[in-house]
């Protein structure tokens, strides 16, 4: 083997074409690895109809916009139950790409829209190739969105079983979940090493069946988005809060809106909430109705009485200006929230985080250290936390001073390179 290590990253989507955290992380890793000596990195991003006209369903694999080392896997006829491909052209194109690039390492970020069968294809075509797989959520364990939130009562789920999963997805028989597990065991069994961006994810995956010595933690990392010095206001209460993210159910924006209602009913109105984000079309009808009804009621109020502003979606280029308007970032997710890139983004700008007390949020944000926790899903708990944040002297300054720098993409790349080398 030459001194150059050839790495192929396989990503769920491209960050310029679809929303989502894992494409951003994969792109960051790609960009960083391209700067490293002795590494030749390529990226294959799966795209589907969400990518608009860029998606060419009969094209198999193409380049992307003339970018060096970037390819698009044009997904079509995908089996979203077993996460596998039904289009042979696509699989054959992947084989051809493997034979062309001859990577030493193939690193899969997710299997959604990519296909678990491509893992076995790597093993068959390039038997000596090292295969890494990064879990960006619980999609292997949980067939219901990969979030491990029970559809029966929205409680957090801690384990999968054919009967429990059937209760969440009653259209699927318990037997089907067993076959799905066997299929996942078989395909993921060909992976050399697994990673996940939060420590708390390891235990559920080990319980599920991943050998403990084959899974480890590698943090997500990002480049800094700070492009100019932040101008911190002086002499005013720290009573401005921001929500950043998609407006779908599990992000918990309704918990925040209900907390605002409680505060308003209690006569506490000296605060402002900025809702930054779009994607309400992905919310359930009930959540969508609730958000839209709140938005309409807010609009009916005199400007001086409004608390919540809906600012719409934003790009990463706009994040500094959005962060500059707030003192705190609220992450009210009602699922495990695997890593929470928004936490990293808040930290880039020195914003303490108020978050649900579970999963990746609780792991990263230290309660009373660099941020505050509240009881997940409880508007009253969040309302009390917001009130405290607005009124407790010195709290913001203390927590702000302790906000850490978020993990860099270089740190992330170092973590992965160590695993690439350990073949």
């Amino acid at each position: 083997m030459s001194g150059t290590r050839k790495i192929l990253l396989v990503s769920l989507g491209h960050p310029e074409l679809v929303l989502g955290g894992s494409p951003v992380v994969c792109q960051e890793l790609f960009d960083e690895l391209r700067t490293r000596a002795g590494v030749e990195c390529s990226m294959l991003a799966a795209v589907d109809r969400e990518a608009g006209d860029v998606h060419q369903p009969k094209a198999g694999i193409t380049g992307f916009d003339g970018r060096d080392g970037v390819y698009l896997l044009h997904q079509t006829d995908h089996d979203h139950w077993l996460h596998r491909n039904n289009e042979p052209l696509l699989v054959e194109a992947f084989v051809a790409l493997l034979r062309t690039l001859e990577p030493d390492v193939v690193h899969f970020h997710h299997f959604l829209s990519i296909g678990l069968d491509l893992i076995g294809t790597v093993r068959r075509v390039l038997p000596a190739c090292r295969i890494l797989f990064t879990f960006h959520e619980f999609a292997a364990i949980c067939a219901a969105d990969g979030h491990m939130v029970r559809r029966t009562d929205r409680s957090l789920c801690d384990r999968a079983s054919p009967v429990r999963c059937h209760q969440c997805l009653p259209d699927r028989q318990p037997d089907e979940f067993m076959i799905r597990k066997m299929w996942l065991d078989h395909t993921l069994g060909q992976v050399d090493h697994f990673t996940c961006p939060s420590h708390f994810m390891i235990e559920p995956y080990v319980t599920w069946g991943i050998p403990r010595d084959r899974i480890s933690h590698v943090t997500n990392g990002q480049r800094s988005r700070v492009v100019r010095p932040m101008l911190e206001p002086l002499g005013r209460p720290r009573d401005r809060f921001g929500f950043f993210g998609l407006l779908h159910d599990d992000k918990g924006v309704t918990v925040l809106l209900r907390a605002v209602s409680l505060l308003r009913e209690a006569g506490f109105t000296q605060l402002r909430i900025d809702i930054n984000g779009g994607g309400i079309q992905h919310a359930s009808p009930a959540v969508r109705r609730e958000i839209e009804a709140f938005q309409e009621a807010e609009r009916q109020l005199p400007a001086a009485e409004r608390i919540v502003a809906f600012n719409g979606a934003y790009s990463l280029d706009q994040i500094q200006s959005r962060m500059a308007r707030v003192d705190w970032t609220i992450v009210p997710s009602v699922w495990w929230e695997i890593f929470g890139l928004v936490i990293s983004e808040a930290w880039m700008f020195g914003r303490p985080v108020i978050c649900s007390n579970v999963g990746g949020m609780a792991e990263r944000v230290t309660h009373e250290g660099d941020g505050l926790h509240f009881e997940m899903g409880d508007p009253a708990s969040l309302a009390a936390t917001i009130r405290r944040a607005c009124t407790e002297d010195g709290l913001w300054e203390r927590l702000h001073a302790a906000v850490p720098q978020p993990p860099s993409r270089a740190a992330m790349a170092d973590g992965y390179l160590a695993l690439y080398e350990s073949a």
């Binding site: 089996d79 077993l82 596998r84 491909n85 039904n86 289009e87 042979p88 699989v91 054959e92 992947f94 084989v95 069968d117 491509l118 076995g120 294809t121 068959r124 054919p162 028989q173 318990p174 037997d175 067993m178 076959i179 066997m182 299929w183 078989h186 395909t187």
Partner: protein, 590 residues
């Protein structure tokens, strides 16, 4: 001259046999020599002149059938046996009563200008292009028994029925105002006479012959159907034929009268026809020698192919086997070919697709797989069966290498439900008595030999692994057989509907030759919640399958093969780990 290609003379129960023999005797008599209605020698019913005595000449205007049709009271007396015949009545009193001059008699005589044929109706006539035939209908033959039906399917070739089930028809009884008792209906089924295709639309004139020698032809344009559809129609007709009853004994009685053997022949024909048309496509690497050929019949969508192959063929040792997937649903041919390309790219297995359209998926697919297999070992593996251990193929190979040949010539594994309970640990027979509920009547007690599977409710982890043992049979869900032995036995018979009992039938033929099947502790998952591929969907089809199994094998089964550890297979004292006689399954060792 018309040929008589098929004369079916089934064994009938004694009471019906007597009746049939009487009918047959009457049918074989030459019209004119033995006029209908004349009493056989030696009998002298009321009003009949004893044999040998001088008789008055019969009036040339007298016609027995017309006489009885014109005078229902006389016909009823004849039916009840009070009078020997209409002629007897005419000689006794009819002549003096001037019955032949009565308007009702003269009108009928003028209308038919000869002896009248009994009324006949064909309700359904269905024919397949190969010549299989299904006909239902009825005849008011109370006074002139229907003895023969012919249907010309093409010049010089005809179906000929001289014995067939007669069925109670309440609707006809009401129509002709007859008391219950006479069986007006008939059910006719015939497999094709030979392999030549016919024009089914030309077979539209069944000819009915009665004991008097009278013949009548009824025109009926047939419905054209495939052999499989016609077979299913025949099965669907059985409950009707049995007056709505699904009492196995009643349906067995109908099947015994030629219907059963004809359906069996059509079943075989369906498979043979499909065998003639197939496309074979091979994918992946080719080896010079395979340890075995794993044959699976696709059911449902072709999207199952890749995951199933990955799970069955992804473990160590599986590369020594070839995989054959038979696709019998034409809608899935193209998706299956696409799936095979994906399997070739992602799995690298030796895979053969057999595309073979057929109405009987299991039988056709399995036979197709066996036909093209490239090894000395055939392994039939249902799509619902998946290996519990990835190294199953390695263990199967080791079994073939290490176990005595007699224990591996025909073998099965242990099939477990997803919850860990034993779903199938081998077939056995048990004699059971049950009560059959009957409407408006007391239940009927039925004692029958039933085919059962060794099962156990407790998960495997809660008990010891059972030892290998001989069994009466193993299911085709997982059946591994030495190919030479399979061919020696004649393969699967394919006489059963949808291959339902082909597996136990094969195993019984093996037992007959002194080689019982063995169940070995090779564990598999059995996802049988979905309808099994060899399930017979209709109740009457299931009864047919049961009829065929028992008519062929009961003599051997009872008593030597009864019980889950039959004496024929287990001459030695029972091992405590062997299945209990109760059939509840494998008992943990002490």
């Amino acid at each position: 001259m018309a040929t008589r290609p098929r004369i079916v003379r089934p064994v009938l129960p004694p009471d019906e046999r007597d009746e049939a023999e009487r009918d047959e005797a009457a049918g074989e008599a030459t019209p004119g020599e033995t006029p209908v209605g004349e009493t056989p020698a030696g009998e002298t019913p009321a009003g009949e002149t004893p044999a040998g005595e001088t008789e008055e000449p019969v009036d040339p205007d007298f016609d027995e059938a017309t006489y009885l049709r014109a005078f229902p009271d006389i016909a009823e007396a004849v039916r009840r046996g009070v009078l020997a015949s209409g002629l007897a009545h005419f000689r006794q009193t009819g002549r003096t009563e001037l019955r032949l001059e009565k308007p009702e008699y003269r009108a009928l005589l003028a209308a038919y200008a000869g002896p009248a044929a009994p009324q006949v109706a064909v309700d359904t006539l269905t024919i397949s292009p190969s010549g299989s035939t299904l006909m239902t209908g009825w005849s008011d033959d109370r006074f002139d028994p229907l003895i023969e039906i012919n249907l010309e399917t093409r010049p010089e070739i005809r179906h000929n029925w001289t014995a067939f089930p007669r069925l109670a028809r309440a609707d006809v009884e009401r129509t002709v105002d007859a008391a219950a008792g006479h069986r007006f209906g008939f059910l006719l089924v015939a497999a094709p006479v030979d392999g030549t295709a016919i024009d089914p639309r030309a077979a539209n004139a069944p000819l009915f012959r009665f004991a008097s020698g009278i013949e009548t032809q009824s025109r009926r344009d047939p419905v054209v159907a495939s052999d499989a559809d016609l077979r299913d129609l025949a099965l669907a007709a059985l409950p009707t034929a049995a007056a709505g009853e699904l009492d196995p004994e009643v349906i067995y009685g109908i099947l015994d009268q030629h219907v059963g053997v004809q359906i069996a022949a059509i079943n075989r024909l369906i498979i043979d026809q499909a065998r003639a048309r197939r496309l074979i496509e091979r994918f992946g690497p080719v080896r010079s020698r395979y340890r075995g050929s794993i044959i699976t019949v696709l059911r449902g969508g072709a999207d199952q192919i890749v995951p199933r192959l990955a799970l069955a063929g992804g473990g160590p040792g599986a590369d020594e086997y070839e995989f054959i997937v038979a696709v019998t649903n034409a809608d899935q041919f193209e998706p299956a070919l696409r799936a095979a390309r994906i399997a070739e790219a992602t799995l690298g297995l030796s895979l053969t697709l057999v595309l073979q359209p057929s109405g009987d998926a299991a039988g056709t697919g399995e036979d197709a797989g066996a036909d093209i297999a490239r090894s000395d070992r055939l392994i039939f593996m249902d799509q619902a069966v998946l290996p519990r251990d990835p190294d199953w193929a390695l263990r199967h190979s080791a079994l073939l290498d290490d176990a005595p040949a007699a224990q591996t010539r025909l073998l099965g594994g242990l099939l477990y439900h997803p919850d860990g309970s034993l779903a199938q640990g081998g077939y056995y027979f048990e004699q059971e008595t049950s009560l059959l509920p009957r409407p408006h009547d007391l239940p009927r007690r039925i004692t029958a030999v039933r085919l059962k599977a060794v099962t156990h409710p407790a998960p495997l982890a809660a008990r010891h692994k059972p030892a290998a043992r001989p069994v009466t049979g193993v299911p085709a869900a997982f059946l591994s057989v030495d190919r030479t032995w399979f061919e020696t036995l004649g393969g699967f018979t394919r006489h059963y509907c949808r291959a339902a009992h082909d597996d136990i039938d094969l195993c019984l033929r093996s037992v007959q030759r002194g080689v019982p099947a063995w169940v070995h502790p090779l564990p598999f998952w059995y996802f049988e919640r979905r309808p099994p591929v060899r399930a017979e969907p209709s109740k009457s089809g299931a009864i047919f399958n049961s009829w065929l199994l028992h008519r062929q094998w009961d003599a051997m089964i009872v008593p030597e093969l009864l019980g889950s550890a039959p004496a024929l297979l287990n001459p030695a004292p029972l091992d405590p780990r062997q299945p209990s006689q109760s059939g509840t399954g494998l008992v943990p060792a002490a």
